[in-house]
Amino acid sequence: MAKTPVTIPELVAQFGPTLNRIPATGWNADVEPDRIVKTHCCFCGQQCGIQLKVKDNRVIGFEPWEDFPFNQGRLCPKGVKRYMQDEHPDRLKAPLLRKDGTGFVPVSWNEALDKVASEIRRIQQTYGPDAFALLGGASLTNEKAYLMGKFARVAVRTANIDYNGRLCMVSAGAASKKVFGIDRSANPWSDIPLAKAILVAGANVAECAPITTNYLWQARENGGKLIVMDPRMTPIARNADLYIPVRSGGDIGVFNGMLHVMIERGWIDREFIARHTTGWDAVEETVRKYTPEYAAKIAGVPASMIVKAAEIWGPAPTSFLLHARGIEHHSKGVKNCMAAINLVVATGRIGREGCGYAMITGQGNGQGGREQGQKCDQLPGARDIENPEHRKYIAGVWGVAEETIPHKGLSMVPIMEAIHAGKIKGLLAISSNPMVSLPNSAFMREAYEKLEFFAQIDFFLSETARYADVVLAGSLMEEDEGTTTNVEGRVIHHQKAVDPPGHARADWRILCDIAARLGQADKFKFESPKAIFDELRVASKGGVSDYFGITWERIDREKGVFWPCPSAEHPGTPRLYEGNKFNHPDGKAHFQPVEWQPAAEETDSEYPIILTTGRVVSHYLSGTQTRRIGALVDQYPQPLCEMHPLLAAKLGIAEGDFVQVESRRGSVTVRANVVKTIRPDTVFVPYHWPLDRAANNMTVRAIDPVSNIPEYKICAVRVTRVPAPHDAIAELEMQAGGVR
C-alpha cells in the first residue's frame, strides 16, 4: 500500500522542502575554487552554458560561461542560483525504506535493490509482465533516457514505460512528425534574429525560456516584427508589435484566420506548395470559412487583430514561428501546432537562413529525452516500436531476440489510469513528480495509493516520493556526466562537477544494478555514461535522430553538435530541410487541414471562468529543486491567482484577498493578484506547488488523442472570496504548500 508512512507535516519536517540560502562556503569572497567546471544548467531546454566553482568536492558558486555560443554567459535567476541545490540539507544520501507509522528509514543498497527486484518479479509473476510500469523523465541525460528504455524492454520486459515529456513536448513532436517527418526544431536559434516576422504562439518566453528573449529583441533591432499570442500580456507581449490576447484554446481561430487572409491577398507561395508539399487543397478548403469575423469568434479577439497578424506574417521576406505549451497543452494540442505550422509551409519560408520554426522545449533534455526510447511507442533513434525493421535493428544492438521486445505500451496518463483501475500494480519512476505535475491531482493520489509497490529514484523526497515503498537516492545533474540535446537539437555535454553525497549513487548505476538482479547483468555492463553513449550512438544509427557521428570529444571541441550527424566526418545539421528536402518518403511536407474544436471542458453557468496554468520565472516544473532554493522562493514564494479587475469587481475580490479557485475536481486557496494584464474571462494559477496549492487540483484529465498530452491550459472554474485558511497544510512553509 503506497500511502505516506506518516503525516505530510511530519514528512516535511524531516525531508523538507527547506530553503538553502547560504553557499557551501558561506558568503565569502576569498574562497578560491579548486576547479571551475564548464557545464550546463540543469533546468530548462535551453541548457545554457554555465561554469560551476568546485572546492573540496562541493559546488560553491558559479561563473558565467561567455564562450558558449547559445547563451554567451546569459542566465536566468534559476541558472544563477542553481548551485544552491548542492550541499542541500534535504538531499537524500542513502536509500530509504518506507516504515508505516515511522516514516522512511535508511537501509543498505543491497536491501533496497533486492526489495525492488523482488517486487518487480513478484508483481510480474502474479499479474503479468505489463503489470509493472516505469516512468522516466525529460530531465534525464540522453544516456539515462536510453538506459531507461533498454531497462524496460530488456530487464523488466514491460510494455508500459513512458516519461514526463508526455506532459511537455509530445504535441509539438507529433505535429512536426506529421508535417515534416522529424520531431525537432527546424532551425538553430541563430536564425531568429534574421527573421522579419516572428510569431510567438503560446510561449511565455520571458519566464519559461528567458534566454530566448535576447534573440527576439535582436530580431526587432534588425527590423523584424513580433506577434505574440497569449491570454496574458507576458513581458515580451508588452513590447510586441502585435499582441493578440487569444482566448485559451482559440488559437486555431487565429492561425486559420490568418491563412484565410493570406490566401485572399495572395501571400502564399503557390510554386513552393506545388513542388514541395501535399495536402494543400484540403487546407485551402478548410480555411475558406475562417473569415476574420468567423475566426475572431473562435479566438475571442477582434477580427482586426487577425487581419493585422496576416499583414505582418504574410508578405514578410523571412519569418520564424515559435510555439510552446500555450498551444500544445490542449486536447487538440497536435491540431493547434499543425495549424500554426501550416502558416510556415504555406509561405515556403523554411529550410533557409532566417526562415523556419521551432518548438520551445520545456524540460532540460526535452529534446533528447524524447528520442532515446523511453517513450511507450518508441525505440532509440526515434524509431517506431511497431516497425519490424526498427525492432530487428534494436534487437541486434541489444543482443536480444526481436520477439522479446515488448510492443507499444501505455502513455503516462493512461498508465496512471491503469494503476487507478487496478491493472498496473507496481511502478518504478525517476525524474518526475506527478503528484504536482499531472492533472487532476486527487485522481493521481488515489492511483498512487492503490499501487502494491512503488519505488522512486530521487535526489530529494519529492511530493510523489513520499508515497514510495523504496526511495533510491540518485544523482543531481552535476553529480554525473552525460549529454543532453537542447532546444535547437544541439547535443551538449554535462560535465561532472562533484560526486554524489553520502551513499547516494549515479542514477545509471542504480538501474544497471536492478537489471543485474533481474538476471540481465550482461546487457547492462556499462563502465561509465560514456559507454552508454557509445551504445546509444550505434542504436540511433540510421534512425531519424542519428547520433552516430557525435562523440563527447566532438561536442567539447565544437561546443555542441546538432543531430542528425550520421558519421564522424558529418558536420551535424543545425538547420533542417535545407533545399526543401523533407523527411517523408516522398520528400515533401504534408499539410494537415485543421478544424477548430472546443476544449474537453468549456465554461458553463456553474463554472463560468477559464483557468489556465503555467510557470513563473523563478521556478522550474514541479518545484522539487527550485522550491528548495531560498533566493528563488523569495522571488515568488506562493502561487497567486491572477485575475482582471473587471472580473475581480464582479466577484467582490480585491488585491491580496484569499480566493478559492474551484473546478469539478478540486480547488486551491491562494491570494488574488488583480492585474489588467489578463483576459477578463480567464484566471491564471502557476503550477509549481503541491497539496492545497496545486493548480493541478483543478485541471482536467483529458488528453490529446494523438499525442496524449493533458489539457493543462483550459478548464472551467469558479472563484470565490474565502477567509484565510488555517489548517495543517496551510500552516506549512510556503515552499511546502502552505499559504501566507
Partner: protein, 206 residues
Amino acid sequence: MNGAETMEFFIDHSRCIGCRACVQACEECDTHRGVSMIHLETIMRADSVQTAPQVCMHCEDPICAQVCPADAIKKTPDGVVQSSLKPRCIGCSNCVLACPFGVPKYKAEINQMMKCDMCYDRTSIGKRPMCATVCPSGALAFTTRENIERTRQGVAIREWQFGGEVVRTKVNVLVPRSVQKIDVSIEQIGTTTTDEYDVAKLLMGD
C-alpha cells in the same frame, strides 16, 4: 584612451522582462557577496508587467558625493563611483535621499551606505559586470559604444534633466532616436497612463 575598445554600460528599459537574474547574480559578486546592489523596480504591476533595472548611473559629478558630509564617496579615475568608504561613512543617509536615481541604500546592519560599483572587481580585470553578463534580455549590456550603435535601433544617451539640474552619467540609457536628453520634470511623476496594457481594452478592438 582608445575609444573603440572602451567598454561602457548600457540600459535598455524596453527590453527588461523583470526576471531578476540581475538581482540574483549581483549578490554573487565577490566584493559584496550575499548583498545585491542592483534594484529591479516593478513599475505598476496592477496595470502592466513593466519593470526597470536600476544600476548606479555613475554621475560625472556625483550628487551622492556632493552631499556627503564625511567625504566618504569617491570616484575612481575611470569614473566609477564607489560605495562609501567604511572608515569615513557616518551612516547619515544624505546620499540615499539626494541621489536622483534612488541608488544608494543605507545598510543598518553595517551602518554604512553601499551601492553598485559597476562590479569594479570584475571590470578592473577585464570581465563584464555580473548583471550585464547574465541579463537574458540584453536590457543590461556592457560593451562598446560602437557595438551598441551597430546592433541597436535606439540611441545611447547619458544626459538627464531633473528640473533645473542637468546630470551627466557614465552609464547610458537607450532611448528612441528622437530623444537627446531625458527630461524628468516633477509634474510627470505619478501621471503615467497605462491603459495601453489593459487587456480588456485591447479586446474591445479599434
